[in-house]
């Protein structure tokens, strides 16, 4: 089986601090990591490889420093790594990103394409499904588990608001995975030693099948209008009372604010 996993380098948002004076993010010294949902996707692929045998290609689109997460993927057990990087890709929204990735993915042969559900820096959850649309492949989002029958069929457990859906899907298909699906393994020491001996293939726009006008900022129909830091709210009022009294207090507060 051939698996491709899309991964993204993101700032570790658990380590981000806000500058109290300017209200902006302090990015300095914040480590870059593999996006957690994507890491869950990579672990899912690695487990399939251990159980049924598979060849795993990881692909990322990003600036030169994103090379680091491809090395990390090698050290976890990925077989091949592709770094999609070009100035023409810069400023891409989700559509232009998924379009460029799809352009690269058309050149790859795979049975299963895994992406993370969403990235912790943008939280759109759009790129995985958009890739499936560009490639005209069936897609299943929000995966918690995936089994392969060894021939053509995947059995998937999909997390939905009301509970779970169990689906059977035939290869090739696209899935988006939740970080909660598994506990990603550590890089191995030997894997790290090898990671920098292996070659990361670097692809620019000329190596993929794309229309240049649909790339990067130019190809992005959406743009960020304004970004601002949310002001800090003052501490709330705390009442330790029984339920009836609490209901009364809430109703009065809502009346005060003309909500009721």
């Amino acid at each position: 089986m051939k698996i491709v996993v899309c991964i993204k380098q993101v700032p570790d948002t658990t380590e981000i601090k806000i500058d109290p004076k300017t209200g902006t993010l302090i990015r300095e010294g914040v480590p870059s990591i593999i996006n957690p949902d994507d890491k869950g996707g990579l672990e899912m692929a690695l487990q399939l490889k251990e159980e049924k045998g598979a060849h795993i290609t990881v692909i990322t689109m990003g600036p030169p420093q994103a090379d680091l997460i491809l090395r990390e993927a090698f050290a976890m057990g990925a077989d091949r790594a592709i770094h999609l990087t070009d100035r023409k890709f810069a400023g891409a929204d989700t559509l232009a990103t998924s379009y460029a990735l799809a352009g690269a993915l058309k050149k790859l042969d795979f049975d299963l394409l895994i992406t993370g559900r969403q990235a912790i820096d943008g939280d759109t959850a759009q790129v995985g499904p958009q890739i499936a649309e560009h490639l005209d492949l069936p897609q299943v989002s929000y995966l918690e588990d995936l089994k392969f029958d060894g021939e053509k069929t995947f059995t998937m457990k999909r997390h939905i608001e009301e509970g779970y859906q169990i689906l059977e899907v035939e290869a090739p298909c696209v899935v988006t995975v939740l970080a909660s699906a598994n506990n990603p393994r550590y890089m191995s020491v030997g894997g790290i030693v090898d990671a920098y001996q292996k070659e990361v293939e670097v692809w620019g726009k000329d190596q993929i099948e794309v229309d240049e006008t649909l790339l990067g900022l130019k190809g992005s129909p959406t743009s960020v209008h304004k970004a601002f830091a949310r002001g800090l709210k003052p501490a709330g009022e705390l009442y330790e009372v029984d339920t009836d009294e609490a209901v009364g207090i809430i109703i009065n507060k809502m009346k005060e604010k003309f909500i009721l």
Binding site: P31, L68, R71, E72, A75, R185, Y186, M187, S188, V189, G190, G191, I192, V193, D194, A195, Y196
Partner: protein
């Protein structure tokens, strides 16, 4: 001259730090309190290659180097001194001498098992009457056909209870002193070999420190490590390498105590402000950090020289001397800055202080390191 880590080393440090934080730190207090060997941690370390970092890939190791190994011991020790020394004794004192002095058969037989962590390694040199005076060995190995018959005992052996293979030393010719010592590789289930009493220690309580007992223990001649009568040299060379591991352990303990103390002094309030606002706290922290960073430079230099196949025994001695004394000083200050809470087991610094003391003693006391360093100056 470049002091920065390579990308590969940075990635390695990131991995080992995550591992220490998530897998080792949560058990550290319990391992100390219960004097329990953290076998589950060893299994986890084995799985990702930490038990065979500087062992070449051809023998099943990770194919890393001594610098990476020292970084691993440092990061593990920063959260748990016991775990640091388990890896150090296993790697530096058992796998390393087999790699360096073993025959090809011995390497093929033992290194893959040690490097994969399937087997744990240990080292037996010290005896009740042969500590720093290692030449005073009373354990004997007497030739008997194709075998040697070993009698005697070893004490203070790290990993003893849990190890599967040991590098030990015995007198093959008592009349020759240090020139009559020979090294052997011995497996756990060798007839006549047993594990004696377990020591009750001040620190590194989980490292399973026991006595090794040899009663007419029959060892095939093929288990001799290196040549006949060359054991003392092997022991000294092995300890040179081991000192990098123990220096890294001491460095980790110091860094761990600093990490805990920085966190604490920002939270702890006295006289209406965090104690980090007091200049005494700031000056203490500055001294702690400066000495720890100096220790790190010495440790890394010694490891680098070993990797470059340069003579490094004085570097290793300096690294161990300085890092061990720094660990003792820094952990002591860490307890002091924690005040009364620092003296309780609610905070990890008292454990770090107890763990730090041994680094001034084992694998050559600080006094021995001073002998090594000055002897080289005065020769």
């Amino acid at each position: 001259m470049d002091f920065s880590l390579t990308k590969e080393q940075e990635l390695f440090q990131q991995m080992i730090r995550d591992f220490a934080e998530n897998e080792v730190k949560p058990l550290a207090a319990e391992v100390d309190e219960q004097e329990r060997f953290p076998i589950e941690t060893v299994e986890k370390m084995a799985k990702i290659g930490i038990m065979g970092i500087p062992i070449p890939k051809q023998y099943g190791g990770a194919g890393g180097n001594n610098l990476m190994y020292s970084m691993a011991v440092e990061e593990l020790s920063a959260v748990c001194g016991t775990t640091g020394v388990i890896v150090s004794a296993h790697t530096s004192l058992c796998a390393a001498p087999i790699l360096e002095h073993g025959t090809e058969e011995q390497k093929q037989k033992y290194l893959p098992k040690l490097a994969s962590g399937e087997w744990i390694g240990a080292f037996g040199l010290t005896e009740p009457n042969a500590g720093t005076d290692a030449a005073g060995q009373q354990t004997t190995a007497v030739e008997d056909g194709d075998n040697y018959i070993i009698n005697g005992s070893k004490i203070f052996i790290t990993n003893a209870e849990y190890a599967h293979v040991y590098v030990i030393f015995a007198m093959t010719d008592k009349s020759k002193g240090t020139r009559g010592i020979t090294a052997f590789i011995i497996e756990k289930d060798t007839p006549g070999f047993s594990i004696g009493k377990k020591e009750k220690k001040m620190g590194i309580k989980g490292s399973a420190t026991c006595e090794l007992i040899f009663e007419n223990c029959v060892l095939p001649k093929t288990n001799m490590l290196g040549k006949l009568s060359k054991g003392f040299g092997i022991a000294m060379k092995t300890l040179d390498g081991g000192r990098i591991g123990i220096a890294a352990q001491a460095l980790g303990l110091a860094q761990g105590a600093i990490n805990e103390t920085v966190k604490y002094v920002k939270e702890r309030k006295q006289f209406g402000r965090a104690i980090s606002a007091f200049q005494n706290t700031q000056f203490q922290l500055a001294d702690m950090n400066t000495k720890t960073e100096a220790s790190r430079m010495l440790v890394r230099k010694a490891a680098y020289k070993k990797d470059q196949k340069k003579v490094y025994s004085v570097d290793a001695a300096m690294a161990k001397l300085y890092a061990a004394e720094t660990a003792m000083e820094v952990t002591n200050k860490a307890v002091q800055l924690h005040g009364g809470y620092g003296y309780t087991r609610e905070y990890p610094v008292e454990r770090m202080m107890r763990d730090a003391k041994i680094t001034e003693i084992y694998e050559g006391t600080s006094e021995v390191q001073r002998m090594v360093i000055s002897a080289n100056m005065l020769k």
